[in-house]
Structures are given as C-alpha cells and as structure tokens.
Assembly symmetry: C2
C-alpha cells in the first residue's frame, strides 16, 4: 500500500499550486466589498472536496455566507469524523505592515521557517489547515486506506462571529451526526513543540448601559450633586473583581472544574518564558487571579474583561459635560461546566445590584458559547497524538486554548 510520504513527494507541487489558487481569493467576510470573493471561495472549496473524493458535496445557504458540506461514507457502521474549518479570512489591514501582498501568496524561507512556508492572508487561518484535511482525505480515498466515514463542515463566517452556524447545526443534526469533531484552527506551542488543543473556553458577551440624568448636563452646575454615569460605571466595573482579581459575581465559580495538582503539574511542563511573553507585549508584569500561573489564568480559569467602554466627550481638548449615559461591552471567558446562559443571568443580577439609586442600568446579552474539554484518554486524542508523534518524532503536549472556536 502506498505510503503518505511517497504520495506527498509525487503530488507536492500540485498541492502547493492548488492551495495558492485558494489563497489568492480575498475571502474577507467582514467587508461587503469582498462578498463576491467569499462566495467564489465557497465554490472553490466545493470543487476541492469533490476532487478529493467526497460522495456528496453541497453548498448550504444561511442568512449570511454559505456553509460547504462534504461527505465520504464508506460504511454507516464505522465511526464518523466531522472536520470543521472556515474559508473566510480576516481583513488584511493595515496593508503597509505586509512584506508581500496578502492575496498574492509567496513561498519563502525565513528564520522561523527554514524549509520555506507560504505567506498569504489565510495560509494559517484557516485555508491552510482546512486544505490539509482535504488532501488527507484525497490520499486515503485514492489509496483505498480510509478507515472511517468523514464529513466536512466548512463555514464562511468564522471571522465575523459564526453568526449563522448555530442555527445551521441545530437544523441539520442528523446530517452532521458524528463521533468525533476535528478542528485545526488553534495554535501550537512552538514549531518544534507539537501540541494538541484539548480545550476551548466558553463565552458570555454582554453590553451594559448606565443612565443618569435624562440629558447631558453641565458639570459645573450639576457636578457633585447627581450620579455621574461614567463614574458609576467605573465603580460597578471595579467591583467585578476583588483585590486578588477573583471575579466577585456570586456563584461565578460554583461549577468551575478544579484541576488536580497532577493535571496542573502536567500543564506546567509546557515550555513557557514569562520574560519573552512580557517582552512581546511590552509589559512590566503579568496580572491576574491570585494563585494561578499565566498559562492557567488564560486556559483553565474563567475571566471577565471589558472589551469596550464609552461615554461623554471623547473628542480633542476639554468639554465639561456630565454625560447622560455610559456604556461598556464585557466578555467572560468560561471553562467547562460553566453554562454561558446561567453565567449571563448571574452577571446581570449582580451587575444590576451594584447600581446606586440615581442611575438606571440595562444589561443586553449579545451571545455566548459553552466551554469544552476533550479527555486525553479518549480514543480521538490518542489517535491524534499518535499521528503527531509519527510526524514530529515527539509526543505532543495537550494544551487548552483560552479562545472560543468557532
């Protein structure tokens, strides 16, 4: 039976050229100017899945950009893997920071990539990874080595919040039914340190609005005598963390999974330089929940961050106004077992309770998602670890990502 290394050697040039063609299409989902290109990319993905050997490939419309669905069933009794990926990319701005045009891919060897790599928008998020799975299927189909059923669900709105994915998934439960979901849209600890992302944090995202007087008023005539919505909002936000940077929302940690000392010791083995981390961000010190390391804080612990705040006069110079309203956008990253809807309710109740008389407060939930962790004794983890070990010659390190995908 033909080996994969041999197959790659024979087809490498074609693989690279095909991927380069895909990378050339500027599928920027955030910018309506690229709508045609995003749709064109969905068509290109459909063609790629067909050529790789899928039996069925369909473009499913949503309220936004379509989802490309592909399927190769060899035996309904065998397990099914669902591959998730996305064909849209982030905007390329600021253009002047690119060394080569973002949609004109170049292959270059660099210090980080001595054997060469493709530089283009989307090459590593997520067209490159998605294409790798398509080519893996091609190899297994062509050489008759596919050991299970495979489904693909490739969306076009990951970079704009996957707004229509939940509806699509709910409406197509049977079609998408699977045993394992495979996602290659996360990071790696380092080029020479293979790692498998086993967890993603969940999310609750809310917007808050604090209203004081019914109109903007003069800070001289009213200053000090009425509740200033910006000062109050600052007090309320400040009250969301205690002096040890624990989140103060009652019940927030009730369902948080506590890792054992062994599990934390295992996590701590991942190579990590605090000095390099601080240097990259140009900060003098990290900051966060007492009793946890940086890697724990952004992986196994839930967080609460203000992502945006605004109110009053924000132009040049000075204007002595007391604003009628102040606003903030607040997100909480959640860990397994924390239910995002429950957390949103806990947040809302607590936040409203922080408001003094003299202001009115609204909390508007935006969206959310559940956190998830794959147990590392699961068959799927073991299979992925074996594949990594074969390729890298090293056992991969399991790691949890702080993000929430899709």
């Amino acid at each position: 039976m033909q080996q994969i290394t041999e197959y790659i050697a024979q087809n490498k040039e074609r693989f690279i050229n095909e991927l380069i063609e895909l990378l050339k299409i500027p599928s920027v989902s955030a910018d309506p100017a690229f709508t045609h290109d995003v749709l064109h990319t969905a068509e290109a993905v459909k063609t790629a899945l067909e050529q790789a050997g899928c039996d069925t490939v369909e473009i499913h419309d949503t309220k936004g950009f379509p989802i490309v669905y592909g399927e190769k069933t060899i035996d309904p009794k065998l397990p099914t893997i669902l591959v998730y990926g996305h064909y849209d990319v982030q905007p390329a701005d600021p253009i002047n920071l690119w060394n080569s045009p973002p949609f004109d891919p170049v292959v270059k060897a660099t210090e980080d990539h001595p054997e060469g790599a493709i530089f283009a928008r989307g090459s590593c998020d997520d067209k490159g990874q998605m294409y790798m799975h398509v080519k893996a299927l091609e190899f297994m189909v062509k050489t008759d080595q596919l050991p299970c059923n495979v489904k693909f669900m490739i969306e076009g709105e990951e970079e704009v919040g996957s707004k229509n994915l939940a509806t699509y998934v709910a409406a197509n439960k049977e079609k998408l039914a699977n045993d394992i979901i495979l996602i290659s849209d996360t990071g790696i600890i380092a080029n020479d340190v293979p790692s498998i992302t086993t967890g993603l944090r969940g999310l609750s995202y809310v917007e808050v609005e604090v209203t004081g007087p019914n109109r903007d008023v003069h800070s001289g005539l009213y200053g000090g005598a009425i509740a200033n919505p910006i000062n109050i909002l600052a007090k309320m936000i400040a009250a969301l963390h205690d002096e040890n940077n624990h989140v103060t929302i009652p019940g927030f940690y009730d369902k948080v999974e506590e890792l054992s000392a062994e599990e934390r010791a295992e996590m701590a083995k991942a190579p990590f330089s605090l000095e390099a981390y601080q240097k990259t961000l140009d900060i003098e010190s990290v900051f966060g929940e007492k009793g946890y390391t940086t890697n724990e804080r952004n992986a196994i612990r839930p967080t609460l961050d203000v992502n945006g705040i605004w109110g009053g006069y924000i132009g040049e110079g000075a204007k002595t106004v007391i604003a009628s309203k102040a606003y903030a956008k607040i997100s909480m990253r959640l860990v397994p077992h924390q239910d995002w809807e429950e957390i949103t309710t806990l947040f809302t109740d607590y936040f409203l309770s922080l408001a003094p008389k003299g202001v009115r407060v609204k909390v508007i939930p935006h969206h959310g998602g559940q956190g998830y962790v794959t147990p590392i004794d699961h068959l799927s983890y073991k299979a992925a670890a074996k594949a990594y070990e074969t390729t890298f010659g090293k056992k991969p390190i399991p790691q949890r990502s702080g993000g929430s995908i899709p």
Copy 2:
C-alpha cells in the same frame, strides 16, 4: 435729573430693535463656518460701545477671535468698574428643538414670561446681558449721571473655553486695571427670586491614558493573564471617591474653605425643590458627598467628575479584544483657596500611584482656573444688592454657582 424708568420708556422700541439686530448675527464661535459672522459681531459690539458713549473703543486681536475693549473715564481718581461679557454663542443644534429660528428673534409672551421676552440664540447668554450694560452706560452718559469710570472687555471665545483670554489679560494689566469686575453671565434662582452670584468654582481638567499591552490582543488568548487597561482604568477611577463620595486624593480638601453653620443656614434659605430637581433630570435620587445638601454639593464643595471615557471596541455588536489603551477626561471643580495647579499635581501623583504593575499611565493637564468668592460685605455687593432691591422690590439672595466663568 432724568430717571431711568422714563429713559427706558422713551427708548424701549429702539433698544429692542438694536438688540434684535445683534441677535440676528450667528456668532457661533465653535463652528468655523461662522467665522465671518463672529468677526462681524465684534464690529457691531464696537459700534454699540461707541454709540453708548465710550471715549475709546478698540478691537484687540488674539490668536482666536478678537476682544472688544471700551472705556469711559470721567476721573482717574474715581473707582473703575470692568464689565466682562461675551459676544459669541453656542451652536444652535439640534435645530428641530427650536420653536422659532435661533437667529430670527421673536418677542413672545409665555407662561414663564407673561410680559414677553425675546427668543433667540444668545438672548440670555450673553448678548442680552452684555447689551443691558451698554444701555446702562448710555443712560448714565446721556443724562450725565455716571458716578465712576467704566471699562468693557467683551470676548468672542467664552463658548469655546476662553482660550486666549488669560494671555490677553496678562498682557494688558494696566489697561484693564479696575476696582470691581461686573459679570452678568450666570443664573437667577427664579424669575421672582432675585439672586446675585457671589462665587464661581475653579477647575482642573486633565486627560488620562492607561496603556497595557503594546497592541490590541485577543481576549481569549490573553484574557485574565495580563492587565486590561479598561478594567484597570475603571478601578483607578473608582478609587478616586470613597464610600461616602469624598474625593480620596491626599491633600485634596486641605485648603477647602469650610463655611460656618450660619453661612450654610443662610444658603439653605434659597428656594429649592428636590422633587422638582429630580423630576427635571428624571432621576430617582440625587447622589454626592455625604454630609452636604444638593445646593452645597454643587457650590461650596469641590468635585471630581469623569467627562469622557473611551477604549476598545465601541461599534455595533461584539468584538472580543483587549485594548492596548484606555482613556478618560476628568475635571475637578474647585472652591476658593484650592489652587488649580496644585490640585492638578496632587491628582497626577495620586492617580499614578494607583496604577498596578503591568500598565503605564500618563496624565495630561488640559487647563484650569481658580475659584473665587466675593464677600457679601463688600461695597460692590452692597451696590448690586441695592440695585436689585430697587428693581425687584425684594432683597436678592447671594448664591454661589458651581460653574467656572469665563
């Protein structure tokens, strides 16, 4: 000798028509589209001062809009009154809230003004008051009753922060030398309750900037592990007031003038309806420094208010970013003896001390001004009070304004 009531009766129609012509010129200093009109208004004020009987009238250029200076000296040995006023007006937006065009004055009787009043932008801030002083001079000059020397300093930038006034005053100390400054650019307790503004609060206005990581970062990957500038800014602002809403800046109250129980009792006599105040602003409760009434809080006590705040994502929907920077504009209204430059320094030192490691903080002073109070046993107060009593048939109430003019 001719009485003023008789003079007014003879000239009323001319007075009103002259003022209406002045009000027609849209002297909006904030909007460059009206530059020509602002300059035209300065010329009109010059003409009015000349016609009223000033010996010398000059238009003095500044880096912004000119200051109109007028002078009537009858005897250098007599006291001199300097009248301050401004000929610029606020922008008229939002236009649709006007019942008649802002620069097309109409005389109308209303519930508040049963004898009729002029409705136009600037009629009561400050063209109307300024014109009243010009006509008072006219009467006294024409009837040979002027008992002192009079100077006028009428500026065109009050509504945009009087940016060039300090430089002008410093450069013209001798020309402007006077015994009493008369300003009619404040409020009155009620139409039937005459009051004299005896105090103005000072001001220190600063902008603050909190920097965390050197770029906006992903709140999933970094959330909880580094200092979020918005969260930190909220904490720092929250720390500027204690649980009794006292300002916590060390030394902030050191030089604050404490009023005696008698003085506070006198202040409390001014008619004030807390219910009406709250209803007008549509607030359930007032809010402020413990131990002081609403009228004390916005007159004899210093304050600290955030006038603007911004950072991170403030568009529609959700973006899970941790911003690199967060900003706020903060003003402190000051009372007599608090030096604005000293307070700015105290604020800066304290604010910087509140920053945790992991953020960098900048404080940029914008501008300031000293607070001032006229003693009510001063000759000038007595003269003004007598004039009010003659006109209204009631003794005026001395009151302090929370604002800062010019």
